[in-house]
Amino acid sequence: MKILVPVKRVPDPATTIRVAPDGAGIATDNVKWVINPFDEIAIEEALRIKEKQGQGEVVLIAVGQQSWQEQLRTGLAMGADRAILVRSDAPLDPLAIARVIAKVAENEKPELIIIGKQAIDDDSNQVGQMIAEMLGWPQATFASKIELNGDRCSVVREVDGGLATVAFPLPAVVTTDLRLNEPRYASLPGIMKARKKPLNEIAVDSLGVDLTPKLKIKVLKTPEKRQAGRKLGSVQELVAALHNEAKVI
């Protein structure tokens, strides 16, 4: 089975994020970049499916700058077979990204697209859903378990207040949640092998999709520093404080 896994480059969650002086983005000096953790889970799941089936192909795709090759190479080192970098030097909206990936998917014809439910930088939580809509494929979001049976797929989804199981025919789009699996480390021989695996670059303009930005970031701000809380002696005091000071009741 051919599985397409979209990969985003994001700041390492352990990095301290600072807003750039012009407020238009984050300061990128001294930021370490990693694969979006949810996409890493998607790669792991794709590799497990391939290993279980004993055959297939795991193809990674990223839509971004030259530097995103690093994250694609890491995915190849984990075990993916090849990677596609759709080169776009300008940052794109989630809608444009979804259009690009859907377009590439039309050519690649994977049976399954597994993608992180969201990227930990802007937390949009849209791309997977939009790809499915554009391709007219079924979708299952927030997967904590994926089971394949011939050309059908069943997914346990994490929803508010419990789990929902959905079943649908392939091809389809599945977005990953945190508990789906624990991603492997890239092994050192895997890293060496990855250097020779194909990584093709396509110019984003060559795909003929509409990339017009629809979103504009006006300003980014660091959240106000949180004040320390206060301990109150009784429920009466609490109610009074909520009423008189916080003015919420």
Binding site: V34, A186, S187, L188, P189
Partner: protein
């Protein structure tokens, strides 16, 4: 999650690393934070080595990672150094295990072994199926290995070994020991497999340092080995010394990891610990300590990066490795001691990693050539005068 951990990189040296070097570092860093850090204090407390880690390190490809062929990963020396750095950021004992397996035992076979020996042992050692140790030091000969008393004499087509080796990392868990002994022509090496009659091991207890690593004594009483267990290209003391150069190289990198852990821990602590109404980090003397630590870590990183470039280019001199080992381990030890002080009473408990690193680094300062022995190597190099004897 891969690559997720804090770093100390004041000069953005990351930019100078190749993608595969960063990937190797990040993979080992992730492994260590997931598999090692949650258990390490327990192993240190109980003087045990976590043998379950051997297979995991082998799966990652850590053993002999900078050797080529024979099932080894074939990475460059900067990647190898970064791997050692990440292992030692967790515990010097873990890095010791990997160093002894890779740079001492595997490298001895790789550099002085016959083709049959390489084929027979190296792939299994890379896979962690065979554990090796390296017996050079003796009870009465540490800094002067040339004075060793272990002897091998020819007996028909084989050899008979007699002697004692002490302070041998992994000794009692090793499947094979690389043993250095004197023969008529000088020093040479043997591969002695566990279970060979006359070969016994016992562990050294009561250590205050390297408690999560096994240190043993090896005793050889009329141990017979055939020529297939003799390292044919090990001629003279140069053979074991060339292994020490490999191991010292990894130690120079490893020390940065231990220093980084202590520095980051102290930095966090003084930012949140308040005395006299202000965070400790707000006092000038505390800031000076932090700045000195950062400076020493950064210098050590730069030394290692250059050393790695030279090693990859094939132009590295052993004296340069001595320089790096001497400087970096000494800096790490001082950083650990300062960090210990900065945590006050909390600096002496295992709730924080500092005291463990501090104690471990006492060994790192001593083994593979003490600080002063490296000084003599460098002194000889710059003056042309040999102060060893």
């Amino acid at each position: 999650m891969i690559g997720s951990s804090r770093d100390v990189d004041f000069f953005n040296l990351d930019e100078l690393l190749r993608p595969e070097e960063k990937m190797a570092r990040d993979a080992v860093r992730a492994f260590v934070s997931r598999e090692v850090l949650p258990q390490i204090e327990q192993h240190f407390a109980h003087e045990t080595f976590d043998r379950g880690l051997v297979a995991q390190m082998a799966d990652l490809g850590i053993f002999g990672a900078n050797l080529h062929g024979y099932g080894c990963a074939g990475m460059n020396n900067i990647a190898y150094g970064l791997i050692m750095q990440e292992l030692e950021a967790a515990d010097s004992g873990l890095r010791s295990f990997a160093s002894v397996q890779s740079a001492l035992a595997m490298y001895a076979i790789y550099s002085s072994g016959s083709e049959e020996q390489k084929q027979r042992y190296l792939p299994e050692m890379a896979r962690g199926k065979l554990i090796g140790c390296f017996g050079l030091t003796e009870p009465d000969h540490g800094s002067d290995p040339g004075g060793m008393e272990t002897r091998a004499r020819r007996d028909g087509r084989g050899w008979v070994l007699n002697g004692v080796k002490r302070w041998i990392t992994n000794g009692s868990i090793a499947d094979l020991a690389i043993v250095w002994a004197k023969v008529e022509e000088g020093v040479t090496g043997f591969i002695v497999e566990r279970g060979t009659p006359g070969f016994a091991t016992s562990d050294i207890h009561g250590k205050f340092s390297m408690r999560a690593s096994i240190t043993s004594e090896l005793v050889f009483e009329d141990v017979r080995v055939d020529e297939a267990h003799h390292l044919p290209n090990a001629r003279g003391l140069r053979a074991p010394l060339s292994c020490l150069t490999q191991a010292r190289y990894g130690i120079a990198w490893g020390a940065i990891g231990a220093a980084r852990t202590c520095y980051l821990c102290a930095l966090d602590y003084v930012k949140s610990r308040k005395q006299f109404s202000r965070p400790l980090a707000g006092y000038q003397m505390v800031q000076r300590k932090l700045v000195n630590m950062l400076t020493e870590i950064t210098k050590a990183q730069m030394i290692c990066l250059r050393l790695g470039q030279l090693k990859d280019a094939g132009t590295m001199r052993p004296e340069q490795v001595s320089f790096a080992k001497r400087n970096n381990v000494n800096a790490a030890l001082k950083i650990a001691r300062t960090a210990r002080d900065m945590l006050g009473a909390n600096g002496i408990v295992n709730e924080y990693p500092i005291i463990r690193h501090m104690l471990n680094l006492e060994t790192v300062n001593t083994y593979e050539g003490t600080f002063d022995v490296q000084t003599l190597i460098l002194g000889r190099d710059i003056t042309g005068e040999n102060a060893f004897d």
